[in-house]
Symmetry: C2
Subunit: 435 residues, 2 copies
């Protein structure tokens, strides 16, 4: 387990912020995810921590902290989490401990109440100045499902069980939850078209992913040993790798996805720290009999035992008609990150295995998280067999791919006996017309 | 032509820095490329402009400038060119004009001599804080040559003549000329190997490319019309997209190149501005009869007439033995950017055609610049038929791919009657053992 359990994980600790103690809360005192918020339009961005339905202004709170936690507070009135990341794991942990104590009933500092802002009033910002964004392909179920649709005779490439396959994606177009985006235009060519044409994508899709933020850098030319990889992780988010399947299908040979992906990626505003997730580490995905063992540089006993993450991910859809008629969002899928073929540490060890350096603020996506059953598939590509078997929504609407006005909402959470539920909040965005 | 000719292009203008007036100089007064330098170790980085064998400290010089050029100077003591870029094309041009006059014999300000540093004494730095790095595949000769080696039955994909194919590459590992790098390790699998193994790459290669720096941003969701694309270009550099062919061949299906590329990319220290290159625009590559016309969003009469760039690129090799015996570097290839199938404006229009936003400091690579003849192929993959037909070097050494100690040097220049030769300087780096 990369981070040891400590008093911040104590399931009996409660916060004086009552809403944090509600059973279904995403943000109990055991979570304490970081984000960047503004209290109102025109105000400067601030480093915040989520507690119940409130946001604590960390810089203001840290005035009463001591030691390394105070250091983190001094620099927290900055527009991104990168500075906090740069202070290193000991400071992250000290700040978390100070916040856990300060917001608790037993040790709490009631003066912190003055520095709370209701989430309902705050504007959340993109939390991290993202350096490079790398997207993996770590679900063997997704790789097989997607491969079958693009290459029926050759669904899973021979490298898949050896290489944590990934591609570089686009950092500039990552947006925070809540920002709608325009349906992309691009080149599409149907199987019966003589030539491609340029126009609005007809096959717009979501991809349900886990995001991993790098909080500690590595040097060029210096691979990160798998046993040290977890030390480079600051935290996790929900990530929607919006995909235009028609653009992707026409463009992706031979150099991979490009315009089919880089028009927008949506991330959740709250970064759940690696430390908060410590109780929810689990065994890495058990490779089926006959699968090769990972090569030695990707194999580690500790990672095999605890490198998996038991995070439940869900995707919901809400169409314009559903919102007008007051229908609740419809769940499309429910899956778990524990089903990923490759662990976060394997992704990091692989990424740096050739000497590629990681920087503070780099973002890694897991790739679509799909499980073995249809109810756990993480994209419409899979759920509708590339649009050919549409889903039926409440009210009778059909969806092969996304239509204008559709909103996709991701939720993520960890639950297990003996631990307090930890949530990721939401990652949501709606599709605007191509315009 | 994206930038009009003006007095800075006047071929009769000479500089009071004598070395700039020598016929073979890369840096005459008509060039004035920008870079970031340090006068000595421990000194702060400064914005510089190359003139002959000297570097002018722009911030110091700008104290005597007026108008927008003075504005550029006030902010030039910063570690990257991004701030200058952010001031916009009118300021770039005003600064260039002030530098051209200030360094000229006829209008010159001799006080500027005090702010010159010999290049031989200066340390050049990475000139730009790179946001996203995108690498294109714009040479049809390279695409065909490379395709034939990886896919003998299917060398050129059906999308090639419609799509300016590109992939996202890695910004964190871009280094400035002169920095050696370690041979990457990675997974390789020979055709007769039962399984891959992890070890030092055996097929290390260079790729001779032109780099394009974006100097003006675009908004998410707003495609850049091809007729406006050139306005987003600040300047150009030489770019070596080092490639490990064995790692690349094993990993690249289905999501494209990743660890085979991202261990290091080397760029030249001097950024030759779009304005300096105005005299060397030429017709876009003439598509052979039978090739489809570009789709309308990639087609522009002005771009067809002037969108090509007549920049000669050369690559040289110098092995450890050659250096020990005093042998001159051996030229491996000589090619021209005018042979690219896609222009810079087409690349930019395509990149943003789905709404992907470009940021100040983004870097685009052209992809390997190869011509139709073997003497103009821009990688060892092509020159040695994937290592199977080694080159013979002075002293009898053979090279299929690069060996430790090999240094690759790129040079680039523009020459034509009636214009003064403009050079790019060098882009050089040596291969260190995997260690």
């Amino acid at each position: 387990m990369p981070v040891a359990l400590n008093e911040t994980h104590d399931p009996t600790r409660k916060s004086f912020v009552e809403s944090a103690n509600a059973p279904g809360s995403d943000f109990p005192i055991q979570n304490l995810p970081f984000g960047i918020f503004r209290r109102a339009a025109g105000e400067p961005p601030r480093l915040g921590v989520a507690i119940g339905d409130q946001i604590l202004d960390v810089a203001a709170a840290a005035a009463s902290f001591e030691g390394p936690a105070a250091e983190a507070g001094r620099f927290s009135s900055v527009p991104y989490l990168n500075h906090l990341m740069s202070l290193g794991p000991q400071v992250w942990s000290a700040l978390r401990l100070a916040l856990s104590r300060g917001l608790s009933i037993e040790h709490g500092d009631a003066r912190l109440r003055e520095h709370l802002t209701p989430m309902a009033q705050a504007e959340m910002r993109l939390p991290v100045a993202i350096g490079d964004f790398t997207d993996f392909f770590a679900s063997i179920f997704h790789a097989t499902n997607a491969g079958r649709l693009f290459r029926p005779d050759n669904p899973l490439m021979p490298n898949y069980k050896y290489v944590p396959v990934a591609y570089h994606s686009r950092a500039s177009s990552v947006r925070v939850s809540g920002k709608p985006f325009k349906r992309p235009r691009g080149q599409r060519k149907g199987p019966n078209d003589a030539a491609p044409s340029y126009g609005a994508s007809r096959n717009l899709d979501f991809e349900l992913e886990l995001g991993i933020y790098i909080g500690a850098a590595s040097e060029l030319g210096e691979p990160i040993p798998i046993g040290r990889a977890a030390e480079h992780v600051f935290g996790f988010c929900l990530l929607n790798d919006w995909s235009a399947r028609d653009i992707q299908a026409w463009e992706y040979q031979p150099l991979g996805p490009f315009l089919g992906k880089n028009f927008c990626t949506t991330v959740s505003p709250w970064v759940v720290t690696a430390e908060a997730l410590a109780p929810f580490h689990t065994a890495a995905f058990a490779r089926p009999d006959g699968d090769p063992a990972p090569l030695p540089h990707l194999d580690d006993a500790e990672d095999r035992a605890h490198g998996g993450l038991d995070i439940t991910l869900e995707a919901y859809i809400s169409t314009e008609t559903m919102r007008q008629t007051g229908a609740a969002p419809q769940r499309l899928t429910q899956t778990s990150c524990a089903l990923l073929y490759w662990t976060a540490s394997q992704m990091i060890a692989h990424h740096s295995s050739n000497g590629c350096n990681l920087n503070i603020g780099d973002l890694l996506g897991s790739g679509t998280v799909s499980g073995p059953e249809k109810s756990s598939w993480g994209s419409l590509l899979e759920l509708t067999t590339r649009g050919t078997v549409p889903l039926t929504l409440p009210g009778g609407e059909k969806r092969g791919f996304l239509e204008d006005g559709d909103e996709i909402v991701f939720r993520g959470y960890c639950e297990k006996p003996g631990a307090v539920r930890i949530g990721f909040g939401e990652c949501r965005a709606a599709v605007l017309p191509a315009g």
